[in-house]
């Protein structure tokens, strides 16, 4: 069957429309800081500088067809280091959206289609009833098997709750017991929270297809769900792109959100400072070393360094000052792990692993035994590059280690702990 042709985009013209007044791609000095600092450089024989130069030279057909747009993770590090603040990701996003659906990576397209299928907005297609059922089942089991938590709550559709808590589909679909540590933390700090049967899911692969209408539709469902319950805060849990897609979506599409959009990281830090979350590093008597991955979507692309500082405050409190080793570079300058921009579903594993080598080197240089990261895509990719390049580190969620510190981590909530950590609590 003949493949659909990818229409030719006129990148230079499009760039003029995309850029704010006064900015232009002609300002590029060709210095190469973007390419030098981009882990996708060289994949598909392309790099950010080359992309810009080709756009300026009118090489539209080549750029319209390059598969590199699916290797770039839209992490915006190129813009961050560019003295002229040229944002290559805007053109890449445009190029992605220009690919006919049947030519786009099937994994991303499928995830987007599933997200749009029901009220859940779940990229794994989990219907609302199933989600509610899983939450109820897991809750019932915790209450029955963990006496300290026989009164644990996991409310769904509770009107007027302060927090509307989102949930990455991976947990209820594949590892439901991983939801429990967060419930325990929310219980401990006395948070007034709720899940919802509609718009509960975190992920949004539609954003990665470059399909603005699909992106908007997903966010609209979520905004309406939060508005309907009258929650004050939409609380993004340990998932990176869900935050960016929500706040950018609300702004980009002018949606009427009657709530604030906040990150769980900010709240972890706040609860610790307020004494509500009494975690400490006394458990780490072996001096196990940890590093932290800054998810691009919530650090560089959203809150910037202040949230990276909050994250480090949480990690230092949790593992001990001397047991935290920062990656280099870090905070807003950190590298994308290679799992962003939908790349885990883009079907380009070989390129994704080459991309991830940079992250592997960063982690290896720290000598850390574990990487903490509040993002599911970072989590999966960092595990995958670790296996591929023979790394010896583990990847853990914040909630897991927090509950470990608090002595409340249930027996089946230890999936991501290595033998060293298990030995501390068994």
């Amino acid at each position: 069957m003949a493949q659909t042709t990818i229409p030719t985009l006129h990148f230079k013209e499009a760039a003029l429309e995309l850029l704010p007044p006064g900015a232009n791609f002609d300002a590029c000095l060709s210095c190469g800081l973007c390419s030098s600092g981009c882990p996708a450089s060289g994949l598909e024989n392309m790099d950010p500088r080359k992309f810009i130069r080709m756009a300026l030279l009118g090489m539209d057909e080549e750029l319209s067809n390059t598969h590199w747009v699916w290797c770039c993770t839209l992490c915006k590090r190129c813009e961050y280091v560019c003295p002229m603040k040229i944002d290559v990701s805007k053109l890449v996003f445009l190029a992605r959206g220009n690919w006919p659906k049947d030519r786009q990576p099937a994994g991303i397209v499928r995830s987007c289609a599933l997200t749009q299928r029901g009220a859940s907005t779940s990229a794994m297609g989990m219907p609302p009833d199933d989600f509610v059922l899983v939450v109820e089942d897991v809750l019932e089991e915790v209450r029955a098997t963990q006496p300290a938590f026989r009164h644990l709550q996991a409310p769904v559709d509770k009107p007027g709750a302060h927090f509307f808590v989102n949930q990455n589909s991976r947990e209820p679909m594949s590892e439901p017991e991983e939801m429990v540590p967060l419930w325990k933390i929310l219980d401990l700090v006395g948070a007034d929270w709720t899940y919802a049967s509609s718009g509960w899911a975190a992920e949004n692969f539609c954003m990665f297809t470059g399909d603005e209408e699909a992106w908007r539709a997903v966010i609209k469902t979520r905004v309406e769900a939060v508005n309907a319950l009258g929650c004050q805060v939409w609380l993004n849990t340990e998932c990176g792109h869900s935050y960016y897609s929500m706040w950018q979506g609300v702004e980009r599409f002018g949606l009427d959100a009657h709530f604030r959009m906040e990150s769980l990281i900010t709240w972890y830090a706040r609860w610790i400072r307020e004494g509500k979350l009494p975690i400490n590093a006394r458990w780490n008597r072996q001096g196990i070393k940890f590093t932290v991955q800054d998810p691009c979507m919530i650090v560089r692309k959203s809150f910037g360094d202040p949230i990276a500082e909050d994250m480090r405050f949480v990690v230092r409190t949790l593992v001990g000052e001397d047991n935290f080793v920062d990656m280099q570079p870090n905070r807003s300058a950190n590298y994308c792990c290679g799992g962003g921009g939908g790349s885990l579903q883009a079907g380009k594993r070989e390129q994704r692993l080459v991309y991830g080598k940079r992250k592997f080197d960063q982690i290896t240089a720290t000598g850390a035994a574990y990487v903490l990261t509040p993002c599911h895509n970072c989590h999966s990719q960092i595990e995958d590059v670790g296996h591929h390049y023979g790394g010896h580190y583990g990847v853990v969620h914040f909630w897991t280690l927090m509950c470990l510190s608090l002595g409340i981590l249930g027996e089946n909530e230890r999936r991501y702990l290595g033998a060293d950590l298990r030995a501390l609590i068994d």
């Binding site: 210095c31 030098s36 560019c82 003295p83 910037g304 360094d305 280099q328 570079p329 940079r358 960063q362």
Partner: protein, 435 residues
């Protein structure tokens, strides 16, 4: 949707995070002045890592061996030059304090000596500079001793050619040869110095490169490499590689984007917050205004407005590349405060007839005027505001590229501006006293 405004307060706000802004923040932190530093990435990543004070006599092609003597001449010949207006003792103190700070945090420098060092450029020519990073120090030594040396470059690395370096040096240095190797574990294609430098932070990579280097060294005991020996802890990476190879190793700067510049930026971006500086990186200040309570600065990031209140401000926004000065059809402007810019009478006078004219071009001497207290002058020739100070190459009457004095102007004027700001802000404990 944008977030609520984020507000920061400090005694001193430094606008610009190039060499001048970073140096000013170092000096301010050492003087117990609470400081907020903002600014875009600027030109630091284009630098060699050498700290030049004065490498050429202004308006001539003669190289300067003794920069301190040349400064005396500069005071006579060009009294308005920013370096001519700062006491030599202060310039030396500024270099010492700056290099001590970066040295403490992992990038050791040779001390500011009595004479310039004859250092290698990316092309293998020689230039005069005052301080070189410890990772490069063996280069000038090898040049003068003419020891048997192999210059190594890497497959896929653009902007640095061992053959070119050797071609320039072989006439005076017969025992030098070029070799090209593959960087271990790197996919084929274009290779960047930054990527290699970060990979060199990994012990296993160092071991593999050491093996490669031992293989090409032959009888030579000295190896020259493009600057790529680590990003975060170059001194340690350098020492480790020397230990693993048993060879003396030196780095040579590369064309931009250059590792030594990125190193300095990343080091200072981490060391300054630890020293108490509030860092708001990679965003340009959009507005500065003064009222009865001090200065108000406004900038924006992707998440919304950021406001800084400060009692005093140091303007270190650089020249055209960094946006400190703007060239318009009808003249050169200082965009942030609309400060008067000393400049040629008309656009036709910006450049001389010949681009390579050894006297340089009048445009490059354009800039803002400051008084003896580092305060930029307003339209009536008076300081625009007692709380505004300036540092770096935005200041007029210098041509830093031609005179090889960029770091010197940045560091020395920053030292002077911070001293003036301190006089305005009031006395502090002496530098080095417990915080």
């Amino acid at each position: 949707m944008t977030g609520p405004p984020r507000n920061f307060g400090a005694e001193l706000a430094v606008v610009g995070s190039g060499m001048a802004g970073l140096a000013a923040s170092v000096f301010a932190a050492n003087r117990h002045i609470t400081t907020a530093l903002t600014g875009n990435s600027g030109a630091l990543a284009y630098t060699t890592g050498y700290l030049d004070l004065l490498g050429r006599v202004d308006g001539s092609t003669a190289e300067v061996a003794d920069p301190w003597l040349a400064l005396e001449d500069l005071r006579q010949a060009r009294p308005s030059h920013p370096l001519a207006r700062i006491a030599a003792a202060d310039i030396r103190a500024a270099f010492d304090e700056f290099t001590a700070f970066v040295g403490e945090h992992g990038i050791a420098y040779s001390p500011a000596g009595a004479h310039n060092i004859c250092a290698l450029t990316p092309a293998g020519t020689l230039k005069r500079t005052l301080c070189v990073p410890a990772t490069m120090a063996a280069g000038p030594r090898a040049v003068s001793e003419k020891a048997a040396c192999v210059i190594v470059d890497f497959e896929g690395l653009k902007g640095f050619s061992a053959r070119e370096v050797v071609a320039h040096l072989a006439g005076r240095w017969p025992a030098i040869e070029a070799r090209r190797v593959a960087f271990p574990g790197m996919p084929r294609g274009e290779v960047y110095a930054e990527v290699m430098a970060r990979a060199m932070e990994v012990p296993a990579t160092r071991e593999r490169l050491a093996e490669v280097l031992r293989g090409v060294a032959g009888a030579a005991r000295v190896i020259g490499l493009p600057a790529m020996l680590g990003m975060h802890r170059p001194d340690r990476v350098h020492a480790e590689l020397q230990r693993l190879t048993g060879l003396e190793i030196f780095e040579i700067p590369t064309l931009p984007p250059s590792v030594p510049g990125v190193r300095l930026r990343e080091l200072l971006e981490q060391a300054l917050p630890k020293a108490g500086v509030t860092l708001i990186p990679q965003h340009k200040v959009a507005q500065v205004s003064f009222d009865a309570d001090g200065a108000a600065l406004l900038l924006h990031d992707s998440f919304g407005p950021i406001r800084i209140r400060a009692r005093a401000v140091i303007l270190a926004t650089g020249r055209f590349l960094s946006g400190g000065l703007e060239a318009h059809p009808n003249g050169i402007r200082e965009p942030l405060l609309n400060l008067p810019v000393t400049q040629p009478a008309g656009r036709a006078d910006w450049y001389r007839e010949r681009y390579t004219d050894s006297r340089g071009h009048p445009l490059h001497r354009a800039g803002i005027e400051i008084d003896a207290e580092s305060r930029p002058l307003g339209p009536r020739g008076r300081p625009l505001d007692d709380r505004l100070f300036a540092a770096g190459v935005i200041v007029a009457h210098q041509d830093w590229i031609r005179s090889r004095s960029g770091a010197g102007i940045a560091i020395a004027t920053a030292y002077q501006a911070v001293a003036a700001a301190q006089r305005y802000l009031g006395p502090r404990p002496p530098p080095g006293a417990p915080r």
